[in-house]
Amino acid sequence: MSDKTIAIINSHAPFSSPAGKEALDAALIFGSFEQATSLFFLADGVFQVIGDQNAEAIELKDYLKTFSALEFYDIENIYVCQQSLTERGLTANFHLDNVQVLSNAEFSQRLHTHNVIYRF
């Protein structure tokens, strides 16, 4: 375990690539080692956190439900880019609690405060 803080950037939509699930798996692994980890949702990554999705309709395993495990691993810093939501015509309707919607500048500044950054 180290004092370094980890940021995980999600920038892909949930179903067409494994990136989102891999990012979540990585976050849960870091969490199980009590490593301070924050999740950032940017660009198409915001499609991962919107509500009312139905993965079963396209016969996919719904990894989005696993997001609810984050709180048990003390991963509470979940940031969503307001500009990315607006560009995609999305409202702040999320399937996660404690999501913080940040302006582009705030999102960037928050990202800069982390020691290690992974992008998925």
């Binding site: 950037i9 940017l42 582009n104 999102f107 960037s108 990202l111 800069h112 020691n115 950054i117 992008r119």
Partner: protein, 100 residues
């Protein structure tokens, strides 16, 4: 923060994401296909606007792709470096992000 770009901004949104997240004092490093961005209008525009932002590219990677910097105003912002200099650049910054 060091932003590493490894893909062409003409097919991937990596460059755009990076430019949206870059703060003054950050640096941008073009490697591999990222060197195709040497003439990308969005990158040139950002570098012209944010003078404190520095930009580097790996000379061998650009050379292999027949990419070079012209002497126009925006492009003097780029510094050509060798692959060996990349490590130093990473350690010079507090953190880095690879936008792929």
């Amino acid at each position: 923060m060091l932003h590493i770009i490894r893909s062409s901004g003409y097919t991937s949104n990596a460059l755009t994401l990076c430019l949206n997240m870059a703060l003054p004092q950050d640096a941008i490093l073009l490697i591999d296909d990222g060197c195709y961005n040497l003439h990308h209008p969005a990158l040139l525009e950002t570098l012209a606007k944010q003078q404190a932002l520095s930009a580097y590219f790996v000379h061998q990677h650009a050379n292999a792709r027949a990419q070079s910097i012209a002497q126009s105003a925006g492009q003097s912002a780029f510094s050509a470096i060798e692959l060996n200099d990349v490590l130093g650049l990473i350690f010079k910054h507090d953190n880095s992000v690879t936008w792929s």
